[in-house]
């Protein structure tokens, strides 16, 4: 049985449907990410779980209790905000203890819990500092400790890393995940950063225009996207127009060049216009490994991206990006040279629009 359940959740502002018939079951201790572009409804859904927004229809059940109409301060839900939202007039210790003092816990209990949380976030030396005396990363750790201090049933994280610089973002996300695992707390993480969602989550909910596009593990979302939107939004993708040439054999043609796909196109007719997608890293040079699709190409451009080298190739009249891992001994082709690239038929995706 699920621990947190969102059933048929819809949120409307006037005529605008922001979240449309959202259904999700979350198990206890699970780390779920809501991933999507701005305005897709991910934050609104999170705010409905927190109680800051009321669903137009649908129910939210937490540990068997209907919390749909409960006020935010009646729910035991910890929330972390992008802007940290630490109380500027309180020290780190006072911020962490605030939720407990509101609950009228004893002074000893508050002190003990605050000390425990400060150790958890490694800010022992900063307990008596004010938020303005801390760095962004430290402030967000305090915010995490403050949310965890009240023993929340669910931890909600609303783009908590967006305001931080790249290095701190990576280290803090690992820290958040480690703490979440250690405490076994159920967490919902809202982000528009696919890398963040892929690296931290047990499952990802990809959202677009208020609708849930796909729910799955990071592996499933990346490798087996079910819609064009998911494939485009998560990772890089080459997408080109194609024509079905043999539905039974999975053959399609792109500007006269034939591709074979493992996707089921049996329901299509010969001559049907479709779009095929291939991830850049699924291409490789034909000499390295022979696969289903062996394609003549011209090297158009080479871009060095650090750990990856992106090679733009022209197959027929269409341009494709191909990614290969960088290494000091990598021999790259020359721009303008004729080469052969290959990809497996599983790599050629035919997705729902």
């Amino acid at each position: 049985m699920s621990y947190l359940s969102l059933s048929n959740i819809t949120k409307q502002y006037g005529d605008a449907v922001v979240v449309d018939n959202f259904n999700l079951e979350i198990a206890k201790g699970e780390f779920i990410s809501f991933l999507g572009p701005s305005g897709c409804g991910k934050t609104t859904t999170l705010r409905m779980v927190a109680g800051f927004e009321t669903p137009t229809s649908g129910r939210i059940m937490l540990d068997g209790e209907d919390i749909t109409d409960k006020a935010p301060n009646q729910r035991t839900v910890g929330m972390i905000f992008q802007s940290y939202a630490l109380f500027p007039n309180m020290t780190v210790a006072q911020n962490i203890g605030f939720g407990l003092s509101v609950r009228k816990e004893s002074k000893e209990m508050i002190k003990q819990r605050v000390d425990e949380m400060i150790v958890l976030i490694n800010l022992e030396k900063h307990a008596h500092k004010y938020p303005y005396q801390l760095s962004g990363g430290q402030q967000q750790r305090v915010s995490l400790a403050r949310a965890l201090a009240i023993h929340p049933q669910v931890l909600l994280l609303d783009e908590p890393l967006s305001a931080l610089d790249a290095k701190i973002r990576v280290s803090l996300r690992s820290e958040i995940r480690a703490i979440q695992r250690k405490l076994g707390i159920t967490a919902i993480f809202v982000t528009h950063d696919q890398e963040e969602a892929l690296s931290i989550s047990d499952r990802i909910v990809v959202m677009n225009a208020g609708l849930m596009e796909q729910v799955g593990t990071p592996f499933e979302i990346y490798n087996f996207p079910q819609t064009q939107f998911v494939a485009n939004f998560v990772g890089s993708l080459n997408t080109v127009k194609a024509e079905v040439s043999d539905p039974a054999k999975g053959l399609v043609t792109v500007d006269g060049v034939q591709f074979i796909t493992a996707s089921d196109i049996k329901s299509r007719k010969k001559g049907d216009a479709i779009r095929i997608s291939v991830r850049p890293e699924r291409f490789s040079f034909a000499e390295i490994q022979k696969k289903d699709n062996v394609l003549d190409c011209t090297i158009e451009n080479i871009t060095f991206l650090g750990s990856v080298v992106r090679i733009q190739v022209k197959i027929g009249n269409s341009n494709f990006n191909m990614d290969t891992f960088n290494n000091p001994f990598l021999e790259l082709p020359k721009i303008g040279s004729k080469e052969r690239v290959t990809c497996s038929k599983e790599a050629v995706l035919v997705l729902d629009e």
Partner: protein, 276 residues
């Protein structure tokens, strides 16, 4: 760093404007003070001695201070939740409220006081009957005090509302409120422990302006017939020359002292966002 290079670092025009502003502020004060010392060359402080010997000075000054304090407290009680709610839930009502708070600039105090007298000088009856619920507010001391504090609240509203609203703009009221709510805080806790401490400097400046308005106010106090400091100074000015100058100077210093104490007392705990 030598003096010349230091001097080059001084922003010249900043100093010019600062000195001009300071002169505009200090010169009249100095002239008043200087005039107050010229009554008796043998005893330059004669005007001050006479003024302080007058019981009416102390009584009216104390009374005006109490009125100012009451006005500040009730203004905070009215304006802080209003400005907070508008920022949080009713941003579309902001223009209307701002317009209302500007009314005291347009409607003179004399109109306000005649309105108050006209409405509150008749008794409150049960509608359509002669059964009296309350006698006219202008007929008894407490009623008049309520009227004058209410009137002062209206006069001070533009300053208090703007100070509070500006203070709230400097902190992210909405997110702080939501953070506190998610931690289980009630509205009372949010306002008293989160909002008020974080707009403390704004409240202080609003209180300072309110204090200055109330202590020197003449029109409302005269027409409502209360023995406040403003009418006392006004009357004294009509009949004497030196004492009003001395009292103006003293009342100015006392007002500053009072506000300094207020700042000292409220500035003692923690550091609020507005303070940085």
């Amino acid at each position: 760093m030598n003096f010349a290079s230091r001097l080059r670092k001084v922003p010249f025009w900043s100093w010019v404007w600062f000195i001009l502003g300071a002169l505009y502020f200090v010169l009249p004060l100095f002239a008043t003070f200087e005039f107050s010392l010229t009554w008796d060359p043998a005893n330059p402080l004669k005007a001050y001695q006479r003024a302080f010997e007058d019981r009416d000075f102390w009584e009216t000054f104390l009374y005006s201070n109490i009125l100012a304090l009451a006005t500040i407290i009730f203004s905070i009680l009215l304006i802080v939740p209003t400005a907070y709610w508008i920022r949080l839930r009713l941003p579309e009502a902001r223009r209307i409220v701002e317009f209302i708070t500007l009314m005291p600039f347009v409607v003179p105090a004399i109109v306000l006081v005649f309105g108050l007298i006209r409405i509150y000088s008749s008794s409150f009856n049960v509608p359509f009957t002669d059964i009296q619920l309350m006698q006219p507010l202008t007929n008894f001391k407490a009623g008049t005090n309520i009227l004058i504090v209410a009137g002062y609240m209206v006069l001070a509203m533009p300053y208090m509302y703007r100070s509070v609203d500006t203070g709230m703009r400097t902190v992210d009221i909405r997110t702080l409120t939501e953070a506190a709510q998610s931690l289980g805080a009630s509205w009372y806790v949010i306002i008293s422990q989160i909002i008020l401490p974080n707009i403390r400097s704004a409240l202080l400046s609003g209180a300072l302006l309110t204090f200055a308005i109330v202590v020197g106010e003449v029109t409302l106090a005269s027409f409502l017939g209360v023995d406040a400091f403003g009418p006392y100074l006004f009357l004294l000015g009509q009949h004497r020359a030196y004492e009003p100058a001395a009292l103006s100077f003293v009342s100015f210093l006392l007002t500053w002292l009072a506000m300094g104490l207020l700042q000292l007392v409220s500035g003692g705990q923690g550091q609020a966002a507005g303070a940085h």
